[in-house]
Structure formats: C-alpha cells, structure tokens
C-alpha cells in the first residue's frame, strides 16, 4: 500500500506576522515555520497505517528551500521518502495551481490513499483537498475525524455542524482531508531525525511535473488584492466592576440587542 501525504509549511503559530511591502502577503524574513497543524494529523494517520502493516508513506510539499525542514521532519517521524517541488515559478500560486501540482505528483505516484489536512493554518481556504481529488479522479471526504479500513473501502466519520457526525463509506483509492484531533501526533524520535538525512528527498520543478502553465501568479485565477490587519474600531465598551456586576451588565447588553 502506498500513501501520499501532502504537507504545507506555514508560519509558526507563535510567529509575529507583519504584512509585506506591497500588501499581498506576510513578511517571511526571520520568522519560524512549521508543518501545518492539520497536516500533522494526516501524516500521523498515514504512519499509523504503516505501523499496522505494509505501507510506504510518501510526503510531498511545495515551497522554497525552507520547506526541506518540514519534509525532513516528516521523514524523521517515519515517512519513507519525500517529494519537494522547489520552484520559484510556483510562488503566488492559487489553490488550483497548488492542487494541479499535487495532483501531478499523485499521478506519478499512484497512491492507494492520499491524506491531507482539512485546511491550512495560514490560508484557511480548505480548497486544495477536494480539487486534488477531482483532478486525479478519486472519491474524497473532508473533515474526517475517524477512519476504519476494510478491503477496498474506508469508513469515515465526518464532523458536521453542531457536533453531528456523518458516516460515509469511501472506496479506495481515495483522498481524505482530516480534521485536527483525529489522533495524537507523535514526536519525531532523535534517531529518526538523524536517520532522516539519509532518506530520499526528490526535488522537482513545476515543469518536471508538466504544470508550469498552471502555477505562480501567471497561472492563478484567484489574485490576492490586499492583506491587512483589522482596523482598530471605535465604540468598544469595557465593562467594569465585580465579576457578578460584569456578568449581569453583559447579560443586559445582550438582551438589549435582542440576541437572546
């Protein structure tokens, strides 16, 4: 069995984010990056399948040199090999450009299962996983909170609004986009990290994958116009007094606004 896990490297959750000069993205200089938290659950799920039996886990990511560290971390946790699309031409890609690139990798690899995080911590779009599934012609499920594998099928529990759970059977090969909390993500072992240097990490360009026209700002159908910090609004009211007084005046405000 082969499992492809698609990872995104995102700014560290504690990183201080400032908007860049032309207002189209954040300043990336000097900040720390990490694997998108949702993707870590996808990776863990793949590694659990590997631990339970025969499976090869391939991790793939798109981005500049710094992404190597995310891939090496995944290799340190137990993935077998990595594919890194390291191509300046990919910079500024929209979700579809990213999806086409990942789909091209998936077509080369022909995995039995593709696992990804439901969304990215920075972009929050949730757009890439269903696009990849569509492009490679696989059934897919999103917001996966539990899986149960059987021959040719994965029974999946999906998280719905209001805490409801939907159970669906997805025939394999398929793509699952997992929700956070699906499992307890392992730490890479020290030995694993030291051994990761010796595991294969293939570097590819968009042209290698035949998607040169689809990536970058040129290939993007969605363009980021502007990114800005929310403006500080007027009219905030700070309630004061004892806890009981604050609670009671807050309740009155809510009632006044007809929200209760």
């Amino acid at each position: 069995m082969k499992i492809l896990v698609c990872l995104k490297q995102v700014p560290h959750q504690d990183a201080r984010l400032d908007v860049n000069g032309d207002g189209t993205w954040i300043k990336e200089d000097g900040i720390k990056f990490e694997i998108n938290s949702y993707d870590t659950y996808a990776l863990e799920e793949a590694l659990r399948i590997k631990d339970a039996g025969e499976a090869e886990v391939v991790v793939a990511s798109i981005g500049p040199d710094r992404v190597t560290q995310a891939l090496r971390t995944a290799l340190g946790m137990g993935a077998d090999r990595a594919v890194h699309v390291n191509d300046a031409a990919c910079q500024g890609s929209d979700a579809l450009g990213i999806a086409k690139t990942l789909a091209a990798i998936a077509k080369e690899e022909s995995p039995d299962l593709i696992l990804m995080g439901l969304m990215s911590d920075d972009g929050n779009a949730s757009a890439v996983p269903p696009m990849v599934a569509e492009l490679v012609g696989m059934p897919s499920a999103t917001a996966v909170v539990a899986t149960e594998r059987s021959e040719g099928n994965i029974r999946v529990e999906r998280e719905l609004e209001g805490g409801a759970v939907e159970v669906v059977d997805v025939p394999t090969p398929c793509l699952l986009a997992v929700q956070s909390g699906l499992n307890q993500v392992r730490y890479a072992s020290l030995k694993g990290i030291m051994a990761a240097k010796k595991k294969p990490l293939d570097v590819k360009t968009a042209a290698d994958l035949g998607v040169a026209d689809a990536v970058g700002t040129a290939g993007a159908k969605v363009k980021i116009e502007k990114i800005y910090q929310p403006l500080r609004g007027e009219g905030a009211e700070i309630l004061s007094g004892s806890t009981d007084e604050i609670v009671s005046s807050l309740m009155n405000k809510i009632k006044e606004l007809g929200l209760l």
């Binding site: 030995k191 990761a196 240097k197």
Partner: protein, 414 residues
Amino acid sequence: MIEWSESQQMIRDVVRRFMEEEVAPHVEALEHGDLPPYDILRKLYATFGMDEMARARFAKQIAREKRGDTERAEKGADGDLAAKADQAASTLIPIIELCRYCPGMVTAMGVSVGLAAGAILSKGTTEQKERFGLELLTLEKIGAWAITEPGSGSDAFGGMRASARREGDEFVLNGSKTFITNGPFADTTVFICKLEEPDVDVRDRKILNFVLDRGLPGFEQSGPLRKMGMHSSPTGELFLSDVRVGMDRLLGGEAALNKSGGGRESAKSTFQTERSGVAAMALGIVERCLELSVKYARERVQFGHPIGEYQLIQEKLARMEVARMNLQNLVFRTIELTAHGQTMTFAEASAMKLYAARAAVEVAMEAVQVYGGNGYMSEYVVEQLARDSKVLQIYAGTDEIQIRAIAKDLLAGG
C-alpha cells in the same frame, strides 16, 4: 562547528515542543508540589527513543567487551563526522531544553544516567554492567551516586569517613552521605567509601565503589531535604549501618582491591563528564533568561517608554547575549571534540564549568533585576532560574575548586 546543523535544529524544535507540552504544565507541581521528576523523564526517554538508543549503545559496548576489544570502535575511524556530531548534540540538546523550564530535572536525570550508570559502566565488571547498568541508562531504574558526606565536600576523598570492612568474601559497609541527588527515590545507589586498612593513614586508604539496592538491610534513604533551588531534583541523605554485601557488589570485583591509584583517578573522569554537562545546563538557563528579559524590556513601560529603551537595561541585555554566545560556543566545542573522539583536558573542563556556572548565575540574577519587583515573584520564571542556577557554582566542584584545578594545570606546565 559554527551553527546547529539542520538535524540538530530539528531535534531542538521537537524536544522544545515536548518541554512546552509535557514539562511546562507541570512546572508548578515539580517545583512546589513534590511531584518527582522521574515519570516525565521516562516519558521524555520513551518519546524520543532515548531508551532504545541507550540499549543499543549498551549492547554494542557489552559485545565489544565480550570479544575482548578494548578500543571503542568509533575511535580513530574516519566515519561520518556530521553524524557523530549529531549524536553528541542529541545528548546535550535535551539538557539545554530541560533547563529552560526545570534545571532540576537535568540534575535528576544526569545523576542517574551520567554519574550512577556512568560509574558502573566505567568501573564495573561486564557482569555488573549487565546486572545494574542497563536499567539505569534507560531510566527504568533511578540511580544515585553517593560521594558527599557531612564532613567532606570539596575534599571528597580526604575527608571521607564511609568505610568498608572486609570479612572473608563479604564487606560490611558503614557511613552516612548527604546532598545525594535522587537519594530519596533511588533504586540503585553507587556508594563510595574507603577500605578499612588499619596500617594505612585514613587519607590514603583505597577508594571502593559498591552498588546498593533499595531496601538492603541496614541501608536507609531519607526523604527529600528542603533547599534553595532545583526543587524538581529530590536531594536526600543516606545512612548505612552494617550493610553486608558480597564481592558481586564491589564495582570491578576483586581487581578493584588491587588497583593502583586507589580509585581516585576514575572518579576524576566522572567529574570531567559532569563538568561538560554544566555548560549545556547554563546555556539553557541563559537562553531562556535572555528571551524573557528581551520580551519584558520591550513590553514593560516606565516613564512613558519601554524599559528596553534605557541604556542601563540595554547593558544587561547585551551582557546576557555575550554570555549566551560564549556558552553556545563552548557547547559547540564539546560537540566537536566528541565527534572527533576527543575529550577536553581536566583543566579545560574545569575552566568551562567555572565560566558556565558564573555566567548562568549572573544572567539569571540580572534577569530578575530587569523584571524588578515582578522578577522577585515566583509567578515569573526568572526567580526560579536564579535560585536554580546558584548550585552550578557549588556542585560538580565549587568555583574555588575549578580555579584550583585550572591554576594547578597552568603552573605545572613547562
């Protein structure tokens, strides 16, 4: 080595995440709630495969001994220097990272794995290593290394009163030990004492190391003593009253009785390892104090300005950074030497320990000063780190003893 390698940075990041998730939430209980550190340390070992690595290294060492090889296989071999450096760094990084939160946990871990197991592995027979050493290396059992006595600290061997009286194939052990890290909880204790030799002056008597199990008749382990800092490292007293042991518990067996140097030299090599570890501890303390101080200097506003804008605060931050750079370079040097199969001289290790301990105390106390009244409160971490750091100038050889070792070496040179 001029910077942490990519692998080493990954190790640091993943170990730091463990500290944030598994140690930080328990600091209060470890420091003030009498939570012994051992279960968290075992989790650290299991999580990062440190127990497995220890087992593998141990198996290699034993196999080598059984083949009769005396040379370490790696020594002299060209091998992969980067891999060896990563290996060396992988033992120091958890020390550095633990010290950002709980330096006491390093003391508890270091004494068990470094001193107790270290003594057994360097002085024991192969059989003793297998019987007592492995479980300490993996932290399945907790070890103590008992040298200090109420009347002997820096003059550890000279003033030592603990004794072993030979009776046929047995020894009768007596004495009391104090300030023993892990003393209250140790499963295995390396007890250092002098052979009773009526014709030899008490200062010159042979030094012997015995391995004691918890619960041996006549062997009493006290509860934890109250102390200034390092509260996450339980410290206690040991009392031995006519504890009878066989030759199987004398490290090195019969041969130890005939060894020249009286066991003093091998204890020195233990001190050397201990002193190298202190530089890594100091680096962890200094890194954290510096980060916290910079953050506070940016945020704390007095007289209408963040205090970081005042030159008196800037001077403190700059001095902390100098200490951090120096300590990091010393740690890099330790890693580089280990990768090359070399060790520092005794005097070099002493110099490093002296500098590291003083730097940690100075930085931690200055961090308290940057924080002002808040720094004196337990709620702010620098208070704990300032108390914890002080012991670095005392244990593993006081500053004064390090100075003596450095000067002695300088003056002995041609």
